[in-house]
Each structure stands twice: as C-alpha cells, then as structure tokens.
C-alpha cells in the first residue's frame, strides 16, 4: 500500500466514528422537533428547563451505569439503592437537624455519598469475589434495598424535617446564572465521568475489561478490582442523584425510584453504549436520559393518546429512535 493511500484513510474513518457518536443527539433533536410540532408550549423556556432539570436523576445515575455496563456488568439494583440511600440520608439529616441546624444537610449528603459507595461496593464484591452473574446479584440486592426502605418507612413514608426544607429546596429548585443546580451537577458528574473514562488509566481499563477480560487480565489489569470500582462509581452516582432528589419530593417511600433501573439502562443503551461492554459514551447517556424525559413530557403535553396507551406510544417512540440511530450510525 502506498503511503498516499494510507494517509487518505484516517479522515474517513474518524468521520464515520464521529457520525455514529452523534446518533443519540440526532435522535434527541428529532424528538424535540416532534415535541415542538405537537404543542407550541413545548418550546417555552419554562418547560424546557423543567424537562432538563428533571432528567438530571437518570442522567447522573446513568453516568455510573455507563461505567458498569462498559465493564460488561449490569446493575438492576440502582432504583432500590437510590430509595435506600434517600431513606438513610433523610434519617441522618433529621437526626442531625436539632444539633447542627442547616449544617445537617451537607453532613447528611456526605453520609449519603458514603452509604451509596458502600452499597456499590457490596454489589461489586459479591459479583467479583463470588463470581456470580451481575444480573442475579443485583436482582437480589434490588430486593434487599427495596425491603430495607420499606422497613425504614414502615410501609409508609419518611419525610425530611420541616426545618430543613427551605434551606435544602434550592438544591433542586435553585439556579446559578439561570442554570438550575441539578443541571450543573449533571454537567459536573458527566464531565468527571468522561474524564475518568476517557482520560485516566482506570477508564482505559474499564473498556478493556468489557472488551475482552482475558486480554485485560494477561495485561496485568486487575479485572475484579476494575469491575468492583465501576460498581462503587455507580453507587456514588446514585447517592448524588439522591442528594438532588430529596429537595424535590422531600420524602422516601417504598416506591421511590421504582423501575428507574430500566430507565437508566435504556438511557445508557440509547446513548450508544453497548450492553455487552467494551464501549462507553458518557455524553450519549446524558442525551439518552434527555430523550426519555422529553418523550414523557411530549406525552403529557399532547392530548392525543388515551391515558391507557401512553406506555405503548412511549415504547414505540423508543424503538423508532433506536432504528433512526441505527440508520444514521455506522455499520
């Protein structure tokens, strides 16, 4: 092959990859267009801000899930874990409020981060040390976390102390230069995630483990440690989402976070991360979370479908978005 030929190839290849990476953003744009056509109110600043703010939860948890899925794992426990962390955090804050006042909030948040990371560690260790399918382990811990929050709330609900409400509210409802805090937190977490995944040794190893764990092992990568760490990151992200969640709803109930795992995994996959591992798109995940939230929003705004059929239309749109994805993406 002449050197001229070789030189000609890279541009083409790079272009293709970038095009593929764009797919979730294109899908997002299409759905936004759809929304704007269906309801003129859709594009109002208020609505757009609401939707973006709301998608923060799935996006933040999704960043962690991207790590787990990139290593070839899967975490079904995230929704329950989130409820459990919310419960622990509210209990901690309520207990601390009398002595610490508003300072109970940051301390409680710290507790949440620690508990979240430990929950992730638990998942990771059972999976790597016990060498059991992540699907089964996290299905088990999903039941465990769900049961614990039910127990903690006595089957009812657990609300945050009234004295803390107003001090805590801005974490969800406040904004900085017009950008809501949850959006800022999402951007920070996603940037951090992207940095770790694409720019650090650990991130390299995450994709290597997901791509071919034998190769990674022979290359001196501690596969078990990398996997476990991914679950810890997942747990940390769940805790961050919990911190944003509490000021919005102010309480934990046994149904908090239910079925979020499916939404999160869907967001990650729509974002272009492969379920079999080895490939990860942090920003795609964020786009995926937005897509899901926009679809739900459009459903509420449009009065066209019977209430019973909302889920059907949502399912159809997701499949169509993925089809579009496939035909704009490479291969």
């Amino acid at each position: 092959m002449s050197s001229a030929e070789i030189a000609a190839i890279p541009e083409n290849e790079g272009f293709k990859i970038r095009w593929g990476d764009c797919a979730p953003f294109i899908a997002l744009a299409l759905i936004i267009l759809l929304g704007a056509l269906i309801n003129s109110n859709f594009m109002s600043t208020n609505n757009i801000l609401n939707v973006i703010t709301r998608s923060a939860f799935i996006a933040i948890i999704g960043v962690g899930a991207t790590f787990v899925i990139a290593t070839g794992g899967l975490d079904l426990s995230i929704g329950s874990m989130m409820a459990f962390v919310v419960g622990i955090m509210i209990m901690a804050m309520n207990a601390l409020a009398p002595s610490l006042g508003a300072w109970a909030i940051p301390v409680g948040a710290l507790v949440a981060l620690v508990v979240g990371s430990l929950c992730g560690l638990l998942n990771g260790l059972i999976i790597t040390v016990g060498r059991i399918e992540p699907f089964i382990v996290t299905l088990g811990t999903m039941g465990i976390f769900r049961a614990l929050i039910t127990y903690m709330t006595d089957g009812g609900s657990l609300s945050i102390d009234r004295s803390l409400r107003s001090a805590y509210r801005p974490v969800y409802f406040g904004d900085f230069l017009g950008i809501p805090y949850p959006v800022i937190i999402t951007l920070v977490i996603a940037s951090l995630g992207a940095f770790i995944l694409y720019r650090t040794k650990y991130g390299r190893r995450v994709t290597a483990v997901g791509s071919n764990s034998d190769v990674a092992r022979f290359s001196g990568v501690h596969v078990g440690r990398v996997r476990t760490m991914a679950f810890v990151i997942q747990g940390f992200c769940v805790a961050v989402a919990a911190i944003c969640y509490v000021p919005r709803l102010g309480a934990a109930t046994p149904t908090t976070g239910q079925l979020w795992e499916l939404q999160v995994i869907t967001a990650v996959v729509i974002g272009g991360t492969l379920l079999r591992g080895g490939k990860a798109h942090i920003w795609g995940t964020v786009a995926g979370a937005l897509i899901l939230e926009v679809i739900a929003n459009v459903m509420v705004l449009s009065d066209m479908v019977s209430e019973y059929l909302v889920a059907a239309v949502q399912g159809t749109i997701i499949i169509i978005a993925m089809l579009a994805h496939r035909f704009t993406g490479p291969r």
């Binding site: 092959m1 002449s2 070789i6 190839i9 890279p10 290849e13 790079g14 940095f195 720019r199 650090t200 040794k201 991130g203 390299r204 190893r205 994709t207 290597a208 997901g210 791509s211 071919n212 034998d214 190769v215 990674a216 092992r217 022979f218 290359s219 001196g220 990568v221 080895g278 490939k279």
Partner: protein, 519 residues
C-alpha cells in the same frame, strides 16, 4: 539417521550462563499430561527455536515459561535464582514476554490503547495519549505494520493484529521474548521484516524463543533448536548441525515423503464455477474468474490485497453483487451463504478462532455445524452418526486429541486447523475454497493436507487455495491468479508459476487497465 542425531544432542558446551533455565517442567490438564520433564536452557543473545508436531506441547511450554499457566511439576530459574510466576504480569516484570499463537487483543480498543494496556503512560492524573500514540507509531513502524495507532483493533486484518501483538512485546526492554508462530499469519515481506527484528534483538543481547512450522525460517534464523514430540523433549542441537529435513524427521520421528503431490496439469473440463464481475463492499474489491473441476486454483497476493474479502463476498458473507455467478449450473447474482453452500461451494476461513470454530463447544457440534442438513435428513439429530463422524474425522485428518470430549478451544492451534478442514469437507462440496490451508500446520501434516487436496481434485472436484506462503502456492496450484489492490492483476499457468512471477505481479505498480484485466 535420527539415532545418530540423538547421540549428539546436548553435547555442546555452554558459552554463556542461561538467562532462563527450566528443569523437568511438566504440565497436566486433569488426568491428561501434555508436557513432561522438559529441561531447557535459554541464553542471552541467542535465538532458540522450538519445533515439533501439532500438539507436541510447544505452546504449552511457552505458557509455562511466561507465567500464562502454572506448571504441575518442575522448576524454573532466572540467572541461577529459582523463580515461580503467579501470573503473566510477574513474568513480564521479570523481563519475559510471550506473543501468543492466537490473537489476544481487546477488539474494541485502539491499537495504541492495546499496546499500552495495563501500563499506560500518564501525566498528572491524565493518560498521555499523545506520547503513547507517538511511541506506538514508532514501534509499529519497527515491526513493519501499516496499522495506525488510532485504528480500532477489531477492524484490522489478522496479519496486522499479529504485528500489533508483536509490537506490544517490543515496547519495553525485555530479557526473553517468546514468539509463538509469529509468522503464521504473515506474508513474505512482513516475515522478512520480522526476521530482521529478531536478529536485531539477538544483537542487543535479548534471548528469543521462536516457534515456527516454517523450517526454512528456523534454519536461517536459529542458533539452537529444541525438538518436542508428544509432550516430551527429544533434544537440543546447534542449528548448524541440522538441515530442514533432519528437523522434520526429528519432529515426526519417521522419514518423510515428498511434500507436494505431482501436479495434474491444466484442466480442460467445463467450469464448475464462473464468476462474472463480482463486486464486494461496493466495489472495494472486484473480480471475475472461473474454476474447473480437477484443478487447484491458487490465489496469490500481498496481505491486504483483498483476497479474503473477495471470497467472503462470493460466499455472501459480505455485501456483494455480481453480473452472474454460475455454480454447478445455478445462476446467482446476489450471493447468499445458504444458497452458495447448498449449491456445493464451501469456504474455510483464515480466522479459525473468530469465524471458524466454537471454542467452547466439543468436537461433534463443531464438526457437524455446517453439514447438519447433509448428515441429518430429518429434524432430529442422529447422535450416533455424529459420534462415528467425529471418530472418522479424527482419524482421517489426524486430529491429535487425548479424549473425544475436549472443547475445540483446548486443541492445539494446528489441530484446530485440521478440525476446521474436516468441518468444511463434511458438507461434501464440489468446490472448496481454502484460505491459508496450512496456517499453523506442522510439516508432517502439511504433506498430508496437500495430498488430501490432491485426492479431492483428482476425484473431479475443484479447489481454490488462497495462500501467503509462496512455496505452497507454487507447489500446489495448476493455475495462479494474483491480486493487488482489490483487483486481479495476473494469471499464471504451467512453468510460469514461480515465486518470482507471483511476487512481481503482486508488488509491481502496474497500470490500472492491467489491474482490471479479466483473469
């Protein structure tokens, strides 16, 4: 003859102390011993070749030396000190690195990411991609690879992946570099480049352990040669004392007959396969050719010339379109793998691990997968027939297994190749296309495969052989097509089939009109 050689074995005196010494190494998988009592010295600044039949235990020995597997008996010492490696990483830290016979790279990562996996360079908290890419480019150039640091490994042709593996071993300074059949997937140019690298390493004082079934390489390169047979050590000789025939005979333990069967001459029969203007991957590769019963058609070319691509297109395994493909009277324009196979065309892939065999399945399911419909007229599987088929294949193709319940992935490389050959032949084809037929096959079995092809063709079938091994192409083919840049550029017959002519056609930068010439 053999007995005389055996007497001289081990008689040489050691000029330099061994960098690595193995004493009575053994390896058993469960009840099956695959290597017993191997004692070996490896010295700095030497190329030490290990030869032996398929399944003799060469790869196993290399895995023990490099920490990829733990010995079940025996000891190792480096520079006089006893060592035992818990894993490959410890061995690499000690300066021993193994380049596997099979490709072991993460397909989703880029070349540079693979090269530096597990030992990434970093600045502050961040990986230093610029530096890694630069160093990757350097080492890739050194091994003569055209792959770029940013290419995804999964998108590379096999030969390039092999070179990337070699490059990985050369990235850091090593004391011992083990190359397990590094040239099996390479063509002449790359082989020459590789041999130069090995000589260079030797000059720098590195000990190189070198496994190859290409005995001419061993003869020109090695300082000493160790022969294994059936998991046992036969002996170590200075390379100067052995010629290729002696090596072969030590390996197989008997005298060898002629390598290539006599040629059959040009066939005059009506073509069994006629391909008119086949265009693969939207014109990236194009070609027209005919295959006649009773002939071996060779296809030559450099690596990346597009031979594999063209044939995969012909089989319907890649997007392809043709004016017409006439196979056994059946006319097809849009090939599809099911149609082609039922019309009597089969293809043996060059990528036996990725596309040829189910590594986690046993011999039976692998062997019968392609011919399920031929073997079982009803929906129901005939398991008794399957067992007898396996036994017959093991016998006919001399697949060395110690139990019939092994998984395909546990076979030695060469035996996997034989299993694959047995698998495609089971479909009783009228035209067989074999991509790199003897990749990883030992010299004794090579002649067996050649005579097998000869029998086939003499029985009125046709065989197309894609090979990067020129002697094979020359020795086997009645007619040779040469490909370059995705087009056929020459057709050679009779006396014209020589290594020089093939190399000339494959490499010369002839003009385009010649490139599109109908072959």
């Amino acid at each position: 003859m053999i007995s005389r050689l055996l007497e001289t074995s081990g008689a040489e005196n050691a000029p330099t102390p061994p960098v690595l010494h193995a004493e009575a190494l053994s390896k058993a998988y469960g009840p099956i011993t695959v290597l017993s009592d191997v004692t070996l010295d490896i010295r700095t600044g030497e190329v030490h070749a290990i030869i032996g039949e398929n399944g003799a235990g060469k790869s196993t020995l290399m895995k023990l030396l490099s920490g990829h597997a733990a010995p079940t008996g025996g000891t190792m010492a480096m520079a006089g000190e006893r060592i035992a490696f818990a894993d490959a990483v410890q061995a690499e830290d000690a300066g021993i690195v193994l380049v596997h016979q099979e490709i072991l790279l993460a397909p989703d990562l880029t070349v540079a990411q693979n090269l530096f996996l597990g030992r990434e360079l970093s600045r502050f908290f961040s990986v230093d991609d610029r530096k890694m890419n630069r160093r990757s480019a350097e080492v890739l150039e050194r091994v003569g690879s055209t792959a770029r640091p940013l290419s995804r490994v999964g998108d590379l042709p096999l030969a390039q992946r092999q070179l990337v593996q070699i490059a990985r071993a050369l990235l850091d300074d090593r004391k011992v570099i083990i190359l397990d059949e590094p040239t099996a997937m390479l063509a002449n140019d790359e082989v020459d480049a590789l041999l130069d690298i090995v000589r260079n390493l030797r000059a720098q004082g590195v000990a190189v352990l070198y496994i190859s079934h290409r005995l001419e390489e061993v003869e020109t390169l090695a300082d000493r040669v160790t022969v294994l047979r059936d998991g046992k050590m036969i002996g170590t000789w200075p390379a100067t004392e052995l010629d290729q025939r002696q090596m072969a005979e030590l390996m197989v333990g008997r005298e060898l007959s002629m390598l290539y069967p006599p040629k059959r001459g040009l066939s005059a029969a009506d073509p069994v396969l006629t391909v008119n203007d086949l265009s693969v991957d939207h014109g990236k590769t194009m070609g027209s050719f005919t295959v006649r019963p009773g002939e071996v058609l060779g296809i030559g070319g450099m690596i990346g010339a597009g031979r594999t691509e063209l044939i995969e297109g012909l089989m319907g395994l890649r997007p392809a379109q043709a004016d017409s493909i006439i196979l056994n009277g059946k006319n097809v324009t849009q090939p599809d793998v099911g149609t082609m196979m039922s019309a009597g065309l089969v293809y043996l892939t060059e990528d036996r691990k990725g596309k040829g065999l189910l590594l986690n399945e046993g011999l039976g399911p692998n062997l019968t997968l392609q011919a399920l419909n031929n073997l079982n007229p009803n929906v129901r599987l005939d398991r008794r027939k399957e067992t007898s088929t396996v036994r017959r294949a093991v016998q006919d193709y001399d697949i060395r297994v110690r139990t019939l319940s092994v998984e395909a992935g546990q076979l030695s490389g060469g035996n996997q190749q034989k299993l694959l050959l047995a698998k495609v032949m089971l479909a009783d084809p009228s035209v067989v296309i074999i991509d790199e037929p003897t990749r990883g096959i030992d010299i004794g079995n090579k002649s067996q495969i050649y005579s097998f092809i000869d029998d086939l063709v003499r029985a009125g079938k046709a065989c197309v052989v894609i090979s990067s091994e020129l002697p094979e192409l020359v020795g086997l083919s009645d007619r040779v097509l040469v490909m370059r840049g995705g087009r056929f550029v020459a057709e050679l017959t009779g006396e014209d089939i020589t290594e020089q002519n093939i190399v000339y056609a494959a490499a010369s930068s002839g003009n385009d009109t010649e490139g599109r010439k109908r072959a």
